[in-house]
Symmetry: C2
């Protein structure tokens, strides 16, 4: 269905609600109806809980290559100047962050060029935490996508599909990045799954680990296929275990610096 | 926009309408509660257009002190490594960005400590562009707030109040920061207005210029009163002239680095 049809549909829905209330003739209810129509007390506020999907970024937050993702230098001192601010050094792919197409394609879209419409999406969450308990490099496979669809219905075009591997609980421990015996390992998407999602015109995939590909990936197959297709990814998504499988909307506060290959993002959901 | 969202939206709309109708016989409060439960996130998508309120940040974007707000250093080269990323140097208060309480109070809340619920707000836009045409240091005064309320109704607690001074159109020109004869000047909020808004428990104020205070402010009265009260500000908001006076919801993708006094943010509205 087209946007125009959708708008019409919503208008009709609103109109009939108004008619309904004209008949209901209850003062309290009429006030509610007006509230629903005016939409000023924000839709998103009024209708659901806000869940922050962003980890706090600091010098100790785990990174893919092990080097600190952020460094602080005092630029203005409060005692001297009466206000304060930092000069930050940030490696783009640190903390809860975006991978733009440009990260894995020489001339792909930068993070500033992502369509704003693609940053507010229906959110589908696929839970692979059971198998990730047995295999630190577990992958979200095409079969997991198919099972999710059987249980929850179609994945809408323009959606964001997030992996819940249970890894968020490990973020303050060495196991977020390595097995107990020191092997670089964490769950990720399988290319079979992301190829399937690309065919459904999914806008974004999100991982609750350090990467879209699993830790033991030799070829970054998902990065090299998903991103150059003009889609984006989110890594180190937080609080994924608190999300419903379906029904949430994700707001992706991607940074907007020119030529950016990605960068730390503020990501929230309304449930 | 997707079929599944639409179907969900319609389903929920119908369901909530039914609930509301049933609730109409009961109390208004019960109906309000049901309304709050209805219409999940689909609304955020279904009901409107996404408007990006964020300027692209680059080395040339105007800054308060005149020094570049961002610098780029190549960290990984595509031809050498098959992927690419930047090491960025960012002064926190650059581009479309947040002022957290910590920016103007020694021990205030950092940008990482802002309540996520305060980052998704009803948005009220007050237009002072007519007087700003005659005075580059025009202020959004208490009387402008009162006139807005007379025209549009109360400003809800938890809202974000944005100033439209028309300055967004000047962003690529020297006049964004200076008068044609070179005087540092741009519109801002008056303390009389922000004191009034603080009393209404407004969560945030947003300016379409370089600062919350006007360019000729000698005392940063708004920064020193608004921010230490635990509220935040947004500076250099883009596309404010395309917003309705009321009815939009703002999504403030504030950065989430520890101890941050603020930082570049991705800000969007759903209209």
């Amino acid at each position: 269905m087209c946007n125009a049809c959708l708008i019409e549909s919503v208008k009709h829905s609103m109109l009939s609600r108004r008619q309904l209330f004209a008949g209901a003739a209850a003062t309290g209810a009429a006030a509610v109806a007006m509230g629903a129509l005016s939409a000023r007390p924000a839709l998103a506020q009024a209708q659901g809980k806000v869940l922050d999907l962003t980890h706090v970024l600091d010098e100790k937050f785990p990174t893919f290559d092990g080097a600190p993702g952020i460094a602080y230098e005092e630029a203005v001192n409060f005692d001297t100047s009466g206000y304060q601010l930092w000069k930050l050094t940030i490696f783009e792919h640190s903390g809860t962050h975006i991978d733009a197409p440009l990260h894995f394609s020489k001339d792909g879209a930068s993070v500033a060029e992502l369509a704003p419409e693609s940053l507010i999406c229906p959110l589908c969450v696929i839970d692979i935490s059971a198998k990730a308990k047995d295999d630190a490099n577990a992958m979200l496979e095409a079969s997991d996508v198919e099972a999710w669809i059987s249980a929850h219905g179609e994945i809408p075009a323009g959606a964001c599909v997030a992996m819940n591997s249970g890894w968020g609980a490990k973020v303050g421990t060495p196991e977020f990045r390595n097995t107990p015996d020191g092997k670089f390992a964490f769950p990720g998407f399988a290319k079979s799954a992301t190829d399937l999602l690309a065919g459904m015109n999914v806008a974004a995939i999100a991982s609750d680990t350090l990467s879209l590909d699993p830790g033991n990936s030799a070829d970054f197959a998902v990065h090299y296929s998903w991103l150059p297709g003009g889609r984006y990814g989110i890594e180190n998504l937080a609080n994924v275990g608190q999300l419903p499988a379906t029904g949430a909307t994700i707001f992706v506060g991607a940074p907007k610096h020119a030529r950016g290959t990605g960068g730390p993002a503020r990501v929230m959901a309304v449930i």
